[in-house]
Symmetry: C2
Subunit: 311 residues, 2 copies
């Protein structure tokens, strides 16, 4: 079975790690959000791509970002120098951003830089940015418009969100291989990522929604909301602030018409009928990806669900 996964950061990375453990890694393509990319002291950082790569390489940090056991010698020296050090970058992590920036400054694309990074880590899974064009997520708040990482890291997601903007998204083009990966897979999986700031900026790149509408693949999404809470990050607060129901059902409504199957966590099984009423299949199982075993279990459940629906 060929998988294409629309990916944000941590939730997607964990799902991909599990999938690569239970399926052929070479048959998996991740299409990654770049809305939270940032320039950090002249280096290009792609946090979602890095979370995916580090997790696939088995070296992800304890909190889902950065490299496990990393140190911050350079960051501390930079802070001592009066530099811009609010975004934590570890010493091993830094090698990734240097390598990426090296490719970009030499005229390469983000796709090419990403391919260099996956090759450098010996990965067999394909990792693609959704676009090679700049495509930043702006978080609109009561205090003004904030680049995603300013909102999320510098302000610790404390501002009240009023909306999102993706300036220039209409001029972005899907990166090479993105539309093909959607068209030619057997299973298109929307990872349990934030629908507003991880998945929407992937879907909104011109051509992506259309490719999803026309793919022969089974299209499935996994809820990032479990028991009315986000497994990770500010998705629940965003749903609430923007007037959505803060539940897996609220997320399912956002994907209505786009997908065939919605997967809820077992604790939300009571929502299955309401999700089905949106015109999609709904299945509930334990989606908590704790540890490598947990990731593999969720991925195996996903594969079983897909196999059953294709039978």
């Amino acid at each position: 079975m060929k998988f294409t996964v629309l990916a944000g950061g941590i939730g997607a990375a964990r799902l991909l790690g599990g999938l690569a453990a239970v399926a052929d890694p070479e048959q998996i393509t991740a299409i990654c959000n770049v809305g939270d990319d940032l320039e950090w002291n002249g280096l290009h950082i792609s946090p979602d791509i890095d979370s995916v790569i580090y997790t696939l390489a088995g070296i992800e940090g304890e909190w889902g970002w950065g490299v496990r056991g990393d140190t911050t010698r350079t960051l501390e020296a930079l802070r001592d120098l009066g530099g811009d050090a609010w975004f934590t970058i570890g010493d091993l992590d830094l090698a990734t951003h240097l390598r990426r920036t090296s490719v970009l400054r030499a005229g390469g694309t983000l796709s090419e830089a990403t391919a260099a990074l996956t090759a450098g880590r010996g990965l067999r899974t394909t990792v693609l940015p959704v676009t090679d064009d700049p495509h930043p997520t702006i978080v609109q708040t009561a205090e003004g418009d904030l680049p995603f990482q300013v909102y999320f890291v510098q302000h610790r997601a404390a501002d009240t969100v009023t909306g999102f903007a993706f300036p220039g998204v209409e001029d972005t083009r899907p990166a090479p291989g993105v539309l093909e990966a959607i068209a030619e897979c057997d299973a298109l999986v929307i990872a349990p990522s934030n629908p507003f700031v991880s998945i929407a900026p992937v879907l909104d790149v011109p051509g992506v929604r259309d490719a999803i509408a026309h793919t022969r693949a089974r299209r499935v999404a996994i809820s990032p909301i479990v028991g009315g809470e986000a497994v990770k990050g500010p998705a629940a607060e965003m749903l609430r602030a923007l007037g959505h129901e803060v539940s897996a059902l609220g997320v399912a409504r956002m994907y209505a018409g786009l997908i065939d199957t919605f997967i809820l966590d077992a604790v939300d099984a009571s929502l299955v009928p309401e999700v089905q009423a949106l015109g999609m299949d709904a299945i509930a199982f334990d989606t908590m990806m704790v540890g490598e075993a947990g990731r593999a279990r969720v991925a195996a459940s996903l594969v079983a669900t897909l196999s059953a629906s294709m039978a």
Copy 2:
């Protein structure tokens, strides 16, 4: 006494360190070569400026470059990733290049980046790049034209040098403060740096030679060649390859007409009459800058020489 020092890397850094110990650091300006600047994985590196800053800050590495006691976690990770890692950058050193690049990418000049770095290190000495414009040194060799660091570090200075080129030097402008520092000092000092690849690229920036010709300052150079050998680096091989006499006298000839006083090492005292015959004062004393005490001793001898010549 106000000092302006034309500076390359290590020899200049040591002289400046000594001078800052025996004179008022606020009365010292270093005008630094940028010909060996390089872009390293997207970061702008200015090796001569950094050697000067680290030495003034008292944190220079054992070999005159980088930061003492530095580690190379990021560099090793970058090498493992298949990145460009032939130029050694330590973890603490890296903070400097990130800070500099951050200023440059935000539209700042190399002067502004350098000022941020000296401020970050709490230095009172002024450190200026000779120019804010790109001004690379190309080493012409039997095997082709090489950027300076490719010749010096990657090829370990093993190629036979046939000449030097400074493409575009005619379009460079002195950085803010450079011509003023030359015009308004009491002592203009050419550091014991490589005359071909450290001092020439400083002198060749339009306006610099003219400012030196018209300054009221006493103009003095210290020989980087002692006993027919370079204290550090490939200056002796370059003198030989280009048909110069490989001695302090060979260097003095290159500065004839530009300076008032030439300082030789005590071991070369026998060359004093020949240097004087070039139309400049010549004085010999122990110029070896071993340790902090050695640097201060040489600086004190320099100050004494200057005081005597101005009396």
